[in-house]
Amino acid sequence: MKRFNRYALYEVMAPLVGFAASMALLMLIVVAVGENPGNAVDAIWKMTFATSTRTATVLSTSVPLFLAGLAVAFAFRANIFNIGVEGQYFIGGLVGAMAGIYVPLPAFLHIPFVVLAAMIGGALWAAIPAALKVGRGIHEVITTIMFNNIALALVNYLVNGPMSGLGATGSLEPQTRHILPTALFANIDWLFRAAGWNVPDSVYLDYSLPVAVLAGVLVWFILFRLRIGFDLRAVGTSTDVSLYAGIKVAKVQLGAFLFSGALAGLVGLQEIFAVRGYYTFQIASGLGFDGIAIALIGRNSPVGVAFAALLFAFLRQAGYGLQFFTKVPNSVISVITGLMILIIVVSNELVSRYIKALRKKEAM
């Protein structure tokens, strides 16, 4: 058993090296901009872990990132590049919001109902690229990117047109009507307080957090405990071998793509049901692309994705810290993120080659 732990250790090294290297790069940029690195570290600290409010904010920020990463990772496991998480959460969020606005239900039913609706919406938006991939062999990378753009235009139209709630809400920003109170996500800070962590009310640690945890556990269980997960990982490793073994490759890929879309549908829950209480096409964008990086750094495992999401949340808050307290612009975080991904994937590659050679030696 000792050996396997050693391999696991090596695998963890790559992201750590990437993180350390990118932090060093960040400091170089800070110096280049003419800022004192000490100030920068202080600014980052203030915005991330200095107070329990800040730490809770990092956790809160990580929730949608985790869900996006999870959606991408699940598809990756079946060798599908779901670059369409972006569009899927816009549509998923919209369908969820519709369920929250137009369907009156008691709260204990309404919350699961909107979650389910969001998942269905996300899955629906994945359906056409999935069908084109499985049925016609069209690579999903291009189609999902196109569907992201189509989704943006579509929700823009719906929020401005048929679903507009402008008169009803009294806001000048285009948005839908307010979501019924029974469907809103309440904070669960009482839970944290009970555990001895004093989380302020202003931080959004709401129902979307347990939803994310449940989704993570579910994905882990599907992938590593269920037979269907074995099928899925087999298809992701080799479609030819799977075909010969009697696995229905097309069905598995279709299912994985749709479920990935369903997971993507959850990404917007926090912002729509806890933060805003209505839907708009101006909800945070770009999470789908972050999800790709997060899945990759987390090596497509739910636990890894959780860590990677926290890392991204940390970076995001660090960016705000730099912006508020120093003269380093926030955009430096995008630069660092991009570089960090590159460094991590390169070191991943080197590490896995090294491990492969070690294993080969061991088997000889």
Partner: protein, 522 residues
């Protein structure tokens, strides 16, 4: 007897260059993790001779030739071309030293034309703009001079295998190679095409070129070689002159002990038909009829061998039986059930097992553990799955440990990923998995490709074992000897049809070869 008749023709030619040493390799050593592929190998090639390099799979022949061609760097040792020490750092150096190689897997660019393939890397150009006039004339001359038959304008992907090999030969001749390496060139050819190749060899030999011919088909080696160097476990065992070489002697030198690949393979009274193929037709995506009117039966307790040059529909036939649902005509029945409407899982449920031709591509999930690979295909069934459709890990591990012991798979543990195993052990994993399903029909497609002699013998025994247990075995192999020694009946495939069936007793290599060429069908 065309082979021997041709062999008697020119041997000790009157070429002035004959006899001078073209190439000397001295003390070549090359180690890979866990194995010394070449251990102080020395050999010598003279102008105007064919030097056969024989040895089993994995003996180190290919590694040595890759070193000579600059694809691998030796750990130590020297290469002298025309008595001058040479450093060969890459194919470019090899080519400039007059070394050319026809690889086992052809190195062609399929969508390019023959001429484009020939000039690639040694183009004629003005200011970087390609000019084809001179190359075309030069290639045409080489075609005439060397008994080749190629259309320079044809797209390579549409050429049959034999002609693709000629393109490879043309490529190296075009580069002015004096030292020509052929890595198992006859593996993909019919006996008759091999004869044509040997005619080309003789012509090149008469021109004073030196040829290194890698093979493990001893008849061919005795037919064409002037000298024979035997390699075993990375070492040169002995170099023989043609005059002193005999088949048993070479075979003994190759394996170190007298070869008994004659597995005890008794003929059993045939049982009922398990596989019935009737007038099977298949038109592929390009609109080509890959299978036409294929009809044959495989009965319980027999091995039915398909002989044929690769690419004559064998793969299509196996696919039609193993998984394909769309066929263009006819029927395939397994134990009376029509397969055309059945998915792979239902076919396996009926008793189908399959050793696929390329274990990396079709047989194993390389990054998965051995335990997971052992259950592949029955992973959805009890005892590996519970009522709740979760995997039963204890059963999966136990199954793996049992099969590892029973089939003597050499691996550190059942959790080791499949990619870490040697080729022979990987093949054992597949065979263990397929045999443990207690098949009624076993498809074995190129089951011994790329495995050593020990594993080959093991695999032969397993195939015979399957037959003794009452299974019907359908064997496809490019190695005619393998088909001839294992099969109770033999069907010869040519251009998508089975054009002739033989009983084991009445089949001779010569005659099967003629049918493989399609000669008698015309």
């Amino acid at each position: 007897m065309p082979m021997n008749a041709a062999a008697a023709a020119p041997s000790s030619g009157g070429d002035p260059a004959a006899g001078s040493v073209l190439l000397r390799m001295e003390g070549i050593t090359k180690a890979f993790p866990g194995v010394v592929a070449n251990d102080k190998i020395s050999l010598e090639l003279r102008a105007g001779e064919v030097l056969a390099l024989v040895g089993e799979n994995g003996a180190g022949k290919s590694t040595l030739m890759k070193i000579l061609y600059g694809l691998y760097r030796p750990d130590s040792g020297e290469i002298l071309v025309r008595d001058r020490t040479t450093r060969i750092a890459g194919p470019r150096d090899a080519i400039s030293q007059g070394i050319g190689m026809v690889h086992q897997h052809f190195m062609l660019i399929p969508p390019f034309t023959v001429l484009e393939n020939i000039v690639l890397g040694s183009e004629t150009s003005r200011l970087g703009v390609l000019s084809y006039a001179k190359p075309r004339a030069a290639a045409a001359k080489l075609i005439e001079l060397n008994n080749l038959h190629i259309d320079l304008g044809a797209s390579v992907e549409h050429l049959p295998v034999g002609l693709q090999q000629q393109v490879e030969i043309l490529k190296i001749l075009y580069r002015g190679a004096e030292i020509l390496i052929f890595d198992e060139p006859t593996a993909v050819l019919t006996p008759q095409e091999s004869d044509e190749l040997f005619k080309t060899f003789r012509q090149m030999r008469a021109q004073g070129k030196g040829i290194i011919f890698i093979s493990h088909k001893l008849d061919e080696v005795l037919d064409i070689a002037d000298r024979i160097t035997v390699i075993r476990r990375g070492k040169v065992i002995r170099t023989l002159d043609r005059a002193e070489a005999t088949k048993p002697l070479i075979a003994e030198l190759m394996v170190g002990k007298p070869v008994i690949l004659n597995v005890d393979n008794p003929r059993l009274p045939p049982g009922p038909a398990v596989l019935e193929v009737d007038k099977l037709g298949f038109v592929n995506a390009e609109g080509v009829a890959a299978l036409r009117d294929v009809s044959f039966r495989v009965r319980s307790g027999e091995i039915y061998g398909i002989a044929g040059v690769e690419g004559n529909g064998q793969s299509e036939l196996i696919r039609a039986i193993a998984y394909r649902t769309r066929i263009s005509g006819g029927s395939v029945r397994l134990l009376g059930a029509d397969l055309s409407g059945l998915d792979v899982r239902s076919r396996r449920e009926l008793g189908l097992a399959h050793i696929p031709e390329d274990r990396h591509k079709f047989g194993l999930l390389l990054s998965f553990s051995l335990a997971d690979n052992f259950i592949l295909g029955s992973h959805y069934k009890k005892p590996f799955v519970s009522v709740l459709r979760t995997q039963v890990r204890r059963q999966i591990a136990e199954n793996a440990r049992r099969l590892i012991a029973q089939f003597d798979v050499r691996a550190p543990s059942e959790q080791t990923p499949a990619h870490a195993l040697s080729g022979g052990n990987q093949q054992k994993v597949i065979i263990a998995r397929e045999m443990s399903a207690k098949p009624r029909l076993l498809l074995a497609n190129q089951p011994t490709r790329g495995v050593d002699v020990g594993a080959t013998e093991f695999i032969y025994k397993q195939l015979v074992e399957a037959k003794k247990n009452g299974a019907a075995v359908l064997l496809v192999s490019a190695d005619l000897d393998e088909v001839m020694s294992l099969s109770d009946r033999i069907g010869v495939m040519f251009k998508g049809s089975i054009i002739k069936e033989f009983e084991r007793e009445s089949a001779t290599k010569e005659e099967v070869g003629f049918y493989m060429m399609g000669e008698k069908a015309r």
